[in-house]
């Protein structure tokens, strides 16, 4: 029997029971849909995160206290580390220590809410240098001004707030010069940022920036920083700057062996690599879960094919009686399984891509994120390949069983 005839025969066989054929591939459809959805969403998330990281600028170098976390269990050590202090900031700012460093600004996160006359809003309160944020992201207040060196030195209770914070707390009235409350301390609003949305993980609209000294002394009662954000003078000098920062901090902290470092330095490229490693590992993990799903789907196909072979025993007997060889019968049933699962794969790809497209729109509109739809070409090829392979693997047993039937016994089957 020619290949073309084998394929036609298999397609006719499937057409004769369309509803069962479709039910058979349900497991495969769900499996492949999950793969495509996962890969597309994973890629979308990766693009979003990478774009945000790119917003930091290639020359940004972040110093964090504690040991570099190598897994989720280490995160606690980093969060509660207290090793970055003012002496470090002073040492880093010395040109002779880190020649290519142009700026270094400490950052503190203050948990809690801000309020004004009974109105409360859960803003992101950061202790830092307002000028650093404004210059780094090129966002300047459209009303009022930034606080400067003087306010930082004086531990002044001043704040620059984002557009959404202003709207939520003050409505249409002008917040400039008004006092908002953060953790029982009043802060005078000296500047308001225009609406900008999300930039490099920071939503400026929801931010309240206060002097880091004030945050340390009056709100948190600590003498250390949560991180120090620095900038090198060019992307090319980032590697050198990282070395200089490490050498300087080791000297200040009296560390000789880098293994004993109580801080770590992250560059934009480092963060990109880390994000890609994490997302890659996550994709591999989820893919293996889906692969198990596909195996279950394959077993479903095998079961239905076995039922089909039993139901069509007389047909097999007849085909053999009129000249079909064992190979012809084997291919007929194998093709049926492969065609079924391949169709399942195609439906899964279309369904997965459609769902992913809809979700990308929902995320973009619902969360205000710049989330783009990505069609995972590799995922689609993988989906077709895997579904076909599942058909081939799980179709062999029923097909072989069919091909080995004796024509006489098959014809006598009731």
């Amino acid at each position: 029997m020619k290949l073309q005839d084998s394929l036609k025969t298999s397609i006719r066989g499937l057409q004769s029971n369309i509803s069962r054929s479709l039910l058979t591939i349900l497991g495969i459809v769900i499996g492949i849909t999950a793969i495509i959805l996962m890969m597309s969403m994973g890629k979308g998330a990766e693009n979003l995160i990478l774009n945000e990281i790119a917003g930091l600028g290639a020359e940004t170098v972040v110093i964090r206290p504690g040991k570099e976390p190598s897994g989720p269990t280490d995160l606690g050590d980093t969060l509660f580390a207290t090793s970055l202090k003012s002496r470090d900031l002073d040492a880093l700012r010395k040109k002779s220590n880190v020649p290519h460093l142009i700026t270094a600004s400490p950052v503190l996160l203050v948990p809690g809410t801000v309020s004004f006359e009974g109105e409360t809003y859960r803003a992101t309160v950061m202790g830092g240098e307002a000028e650093f944020f404004a210059n780094s992201f090129n966002i300047f207040p459209d009303r009022g001004a930034l606080f400067g060196e003087l306010e930082i030195r004086q531990n002044a209770s001043v704040a620059v707030i984002g557009d959404k914070v202003a709207t939520e707390l003050f409505g249409l009235s002008d917040p400039l010069g008004e006092f908002i409350r953060v953790k029982d301390r009043k802060f005078r609003i000296v500047g308001i940022f225009p609406a900008t949305g999300q930039v490099a993980f920071l939503n400026f609209d929801e931010m309240v920036i206060i002097p880091y000294t004030t945050a340390q002394q009056y709100l948190l009662g600590i003498d250390y920083f949560h991180e120090i954000i620095t900038k090198a003078d060019s992307p090319e000098s980032v590697a050198r700057t990282v070395q200089d920062i490490e050498a300087t901090l080791r000297e200040v902290h009296g560390i000789e062996d880098p293994e004993d470092d109580d801080f770590y330095v992250a560059t934009q490229q480092g963060i990109v690599d880390q994000v890609q490693t994490i997302l890659g590992a996550l994709t591999v993990f989820l893919s293996s879960v889906v692969a198990i799903g596909l195996v279950v789907g394959g077993i479903g196909v095998m079961n239905i094919m076995l039922v089909s072979v039993t139901e069509r025993t007389r047909e097999i007997g007849l085909r053999k009686a009129i000249g079909a060889t064992n190979k012809d019968i084997l291919f007929q049933f194998l093709f049926e399984a492969v065609i079924l699962t391949a169709i399942g794969g195609v439906i899964g790809i279309v369904l997965g891509a459609s769902l992913s497209y809809i979700l990308s729109i929902v995320i973009s509109i619902g969360f205000g994120l710049n989330w783009g739809f990505v069609f995972p070409i590799f995922g689609a090829v993988l989906g077709i390949g895997m579904s076909t392979l599942v058909g081939l693997i799980f179709g062999i047993y029923p097909a072989r069983k069919a091909s080995l039937k004796s024509p006489i016994e098959a014809l006598r089957y009731e």
Partner: protein, 236 residues
């Protein structure tokens, strides 16, 4: 050289049933032979062996002068496809396929070129008088019509031999007569060798020779004196 030559053929099933206990006879090309016998006599087993559908356990069986045992499995399938046509008591049509597709079935396994197939199928369907039913599903046909489709399927590859296993068993007498008319015509006009299994003497008398089997042994082999002939109105 006889078309079929059997000597001391035995068939013993694994459960110990001795279906054939040593049968010898031969059939020439163009013969019309009826095999008769009571239920359980071994006539169906004999037909299956003659039709390359089953193996025997002892004796010697030659088809066209070649020992059955010398055929490879693929050659056996090829002989069934090209040289033999089967008509079963229960028709054995694909119920979800049209008349055309059912008759086409043997051609799918044959070497008949793609462009000749349609014409061959149409001509086979026409010869059994079912041209008006081509696109009907086989499940929509009457018993007599289904058997005519089965005959068209059996002769579409222009085989040397047509095996008919109780072809009228499931039909009313009128439809049965039509079927026998067609089978007679195939033998008379097209010179197909016909081997007919039946337990009805009336049907067996269409053949020129009747072989009677009992308890797995050949009881008698007689020529039919008042042989019946069909109306001759089917096969041209």
């Amino acid at each position: 050289m006889p078309l079929f030559e059997l000597s001391h053929i035995e068939k013993k099933y694994p459960d110990g049933t001795h279906a054939l206990r040593g049968i010898s006879f031969s059939i020439e090309k163009g013969d019309f032979v009826s095999i008769m016998g009571p239920s359980g006599s071994g006539k169906s087993t004999l037909l299956h062996i003659l039709g390359f559908l089953d193996d025997y356990t002892a004796g010697e069986f030659l088809f066209e002068g070649k020992r059955y045992r010398d055929y490879t499995p693929d050659e056996i399938a090829q002989v069934r496809n090209e040289k033999m046509g089967f008509i079963f008591q229960s028709f054995n049509l694909l119920s979800r396929a049209t008349v055309f597709d059912n008759v086409m079935l043997p051609l799918l396994y044959s070497k008949v070129p793609q462009n000749e197939r349609k014409e061959t199928v149409l001509s086979a369907i026409e010869s059994v008088g079912l041209s008006h039913r081509i696109e009907h599903m086989s499940s929509q046909l009457s018993g007599g019509e289904r058997q005519r489709v089965a005959i068209a399927r059996a002769l579409v590859n222009n085989p040397n031999v047509i095996f008919a296993d109780e072809p009228t068993g499931n039909l009313d007498s009128k439809s049965g007569e039509v079927i026998m008319d067609i089978i007679c015509d195939l033998n008379k006009k097209k010179n197909h060798t016909v081997i007919l299994i039946t337990h009805e003497t009336y049907t067996a008398e269409y053949a020129e020779r009747i072989i009677t089997i009992r308890d797995g042994l050949l009881e008698k082999e007689v020529a039919v004196e008042n042989r019946k002939f069909g109306s001759g109105s089917f096969i041209k």
